[in-house]
Amino acid sequence: MDNAALKERILGLVPDAEYQENKQFLTFIIPPAKMYDLAVKLKNEADLAFDFLFCLTGVDMVKFLEVVYHLESTTHHHQIELKVRTEDRENGAVDTVCDIWRTAEFLEREVFDLLGIRFSNHPDLRRIFLEDGWVGHPLRKDYVDEVNIVEF
């Protein structure tokens, strides 16, 4: 499937997804509530077969928090990028995909640890790098740490 067909296919699955221009990947912004259903379809439908989640990360865009999924199909070799945006900075708004792509379990823990995005239904959402009593999420733009970060 070429990129144009793939774009139609995904917009067909989630009509209210927003297509974003990007040189490298087909990028879609998916409403948080639709993400899990879309993920199941992306993994399981034979013409899509996105079985390899090669990157999952988060970005703090100040106005909202963003979770970025990079997916590849090992059979068709096509790639897409999905984004889920949430304006709720404290509570879980994004569903976990770690039962679909097992690698997401650790990657989501990392995103939670460093950006504070809570994933609902995650089996073991704990901090992974920082210690349990750490206050705040360092990769957020509003994170202040006067002891460890030296401003120039």
Partner: protein, 375 residues
């Protein structure tokens, strides 16, 4: 005495206990901590606890310029430092649409492959040591030293090179580089037979690794296990083949895939990969074109606003660099998709039901570098 008599009778056979493997343990190769639930000698489950050397590289990147970030990537997977540098350099070059001289791509590819061999040699040493064969350690290090000498001669450093810069190389290669690399390949082709004699063909080693820690292809893909560990399960994940960079598309090499996905297969993958890397180097070493070693770059590198992703095949699997730029001289957000982090996530899944000794062998065959997990 009464308390002892009144203790509830427990079924001792089913009772689990926990041990901490790490943060200081000989077989975790660094400060990784595994909390292992055991029943006798059998591993019931394990929980990795990482972050003992989390240095916040991604946070540091948000304050640094791109040439400075190169030096941080060395410190992630220090055994494939060149390949990490390569990822960031290519990302910057692609974003700025800079044409890199052909000489640079050739040299980068050769040095990447030398780095991969050096990394696999060190893996072989430590795998042998995990299996209890201490002699392997010295054989591997002896040969790795030759590669480090070549590196040292060309650019003065042995572990954390930072040799690549956006747009080219820090300096040109040493005039003897080609001669020395060819001498090394001739030498190592002979010495790799020692590796087979000492460890591969050993009956104890084969008994301990065959059929242990089996990872199916589906699980390998789902857990994102890439590199030699993923290919052992039949997951065709070689970035050099599927998304070529450097001059890999001009060279001939095989992407070797395993079928069983056990510890022995993962071991053999890396042994084959060393041979394939030598093949790649042999094809390129005589054809390095003359020319500049650096493209002209602006003094201050600013990436246009947008997002960029670059994938390379590091020694342990796929390294991805994801950058969100807002047009400034440092990235807005930088994420490294490190191969070891995903490879670690599968450890619990494949080591259940194994013995402690198997856990060590499986851990050795997945080949962690802890700074790459923690970043």
């Amino acid at each position: 005495m009464k308390e002892i008599i009144n203790l509830p009778v427990k079924n001792v056979e089913e009772e689990e206990y926990h041990i901490n493997m790490g943060p200081q343990h000989p077989s975790t190769h660094g400060v990784l901590r595994l909390v292992v639930s055991l029943q006798g000698e059998i591993v019931k489950s394990l929980k990795p606890h990482c972050g003992y050397i989390h240095r916040g590289i991604e946070k540091m990147c948000e304050k640094d310029t791109y040439p400075q970030i190169i030096h941080l990537t060395d410190r992630m997977d220090y055994l494939s430092a060149h390949i990490n540098n390569h990822a960031v350099c290519m990302l910057v070059e692609k974003a700025l649409e800079v044409e890199v001289p052909e000489r640079v791509t050739y040299i980068r590819t050769i040095i990447d492959e030398l780095n991969r061999i050096a990394s696999h040699q060190l893996w072989w040493c430590s795998f042998g040591m995990d299996m209890g064969g201490l002699t392997c350690f010295f054989y591997g290090l002896r040969d790795r030293e030759k590669i480090l000498d070549i590196f040292e001669e060309s650019f003065g450093s042995r572990l954390l090179h930072s040799y690549y810069t956006p747009g080219g190389l820090m300096m040109d290669i040493h005039p003897d580089f080609q001669k020395n690399v060819k001498a090394f390949i001739k030498y190592f082709r002979k010495k790799i037979k020692d590796y087979d004699d000492l460890l591969t063909g050993n009956i104890i080693m084969q008994l301990r690794t065959k059929g242990v820690g089996i990872l199916t292809k589906e699980d390998a893909i789902s857990y994102g296990v890439t590199g030699p560990s993923g290919r052992a399960s039949g997951f065709a994940c070689d970035v050099r083949k599927h998304h070529p960079y450097g001059v890999y598309d001009k060279t001939e090499f095989k992407e070797i895939l395993g079928t069983k996905g056990d510890t022995f297969e993962r071991y053999m993958m890396r042994m084959h990969e060393m041979l394939e890397s030598m093949k790649i180097i042999e094809q390129l070493i005589d054809n390095i074109p003359a020319g500049d070693y650096k493209a002209k770059m602006k003094a201050v590198i600013k990436l246009p606003a947008g997002e960029y992703f670059q994938r390379v095949e590091a020694a342990r699997g796929e390294l991805g660099v994801y950058v969100v730029s807002d047009g400034n001289k440092s990235p807005y957000r930088m994420k490294f998709r490190s191969p070891n982090f995903s490879n670690l996530s599968v450890l619990d899944h494949i080591s259940r039901g194994c013995k402690i000794a198997d856990l060590v062998a499986i851990g050795g065959s997945l080949d962690y570098v802890i700074p790459d997990i923690d970043r």
